[in-house]
Amino acid sequence: MIGTLITLDRGGDSKLIWDREKPVEVDNARRMFKDLMAKGYWAYAVRTNGEKGIHVTEFDPEAEKIILAPRVVGG
């Protein structure tokens, strides 16, 4: 099974895909998740088609899709 880490950025978004059966890919995704969380990003476990995302703070290798968004500030 495949998981996708989607990072919202200036280029639209960047995707990192991991195979849950491949520890190296899982570790790579977990590392990126931690790096971005350390930078203040917010993470959401999501599905498509309008389902609400769930705010998460830990990387879940079983997640189908995780979106990482830069921290929100008041305008």
Partner: protein, 155 residues
């Protein structure tokens, strides 16, 4: 650190107070990125020759595709027809997210009319569709945090 102001792709001001390394990124504005072509600009305080990378249509299209993937059919319909869509928070409050980056979130009353304007957006510049997606995700999953960060205006 030099400061650049650009409007509609044209340099308006250039404030140079230091030195720049070759090809350093000196300004990011919207989806334009400007680089110095050398370090000689510091001597006479004039704008350096710059390379402006054209706004990326691809970035906006990617963001639009992702946003649409994350919306329910009726939300996509309203986005297409009215450039906005409605989300419901975990507390049951309804918010209208309009196309844009700032001052584009409105709390709706029971009659469906906006009662408050909330201004909060990602700190980094993102295409509008990504900004709207970030606002949607936060409102749906942590409305209170969004409200604590936002500047809220009663309408």
């Amino acid at each position: 650190m030099p400061t650049a102001t650009i409007t509609d792709g044209t340099w308006v001001t250039w404030i140079a107070t230091g030195t720049a390394s070759t090809n350093a990124t000196v300004a990011i504005w919207g989806n334009w990125t400007c680089y110095t072509s050398g370090a000689t600009w510091a001597a006479n305080n004039v704008a350096p020759a710059v390379t402006q990378i054209a706004p990326s249509l691809e970035a906006g299209q990617k963001a639009e595709t992702l946003l649409r993937d994350m919306l329910a059919p009726e939300q996509r319909y309203f986005l297409d027809k009215m450039s906005k869509f409605v989300v419901e928070s975990e507390l049951g409050n309804r918010y209208e997210i309009r196309r844009g980056r700032m001052q584009n979130v409105f709390q709706l009353g029971l009659d469906g009319k906006p009662t408050h304007k909330l201004c909060a957006h990602p700190a980094d510049w993102l295409p509008d569709a990504d900004t709207m997606l970030a606002q949607k995700l936060m409102l749906e999953s942590d409305e209170q945090a969004f409200r604590q960060l936002a500047n809220i205006t009663r309408l």
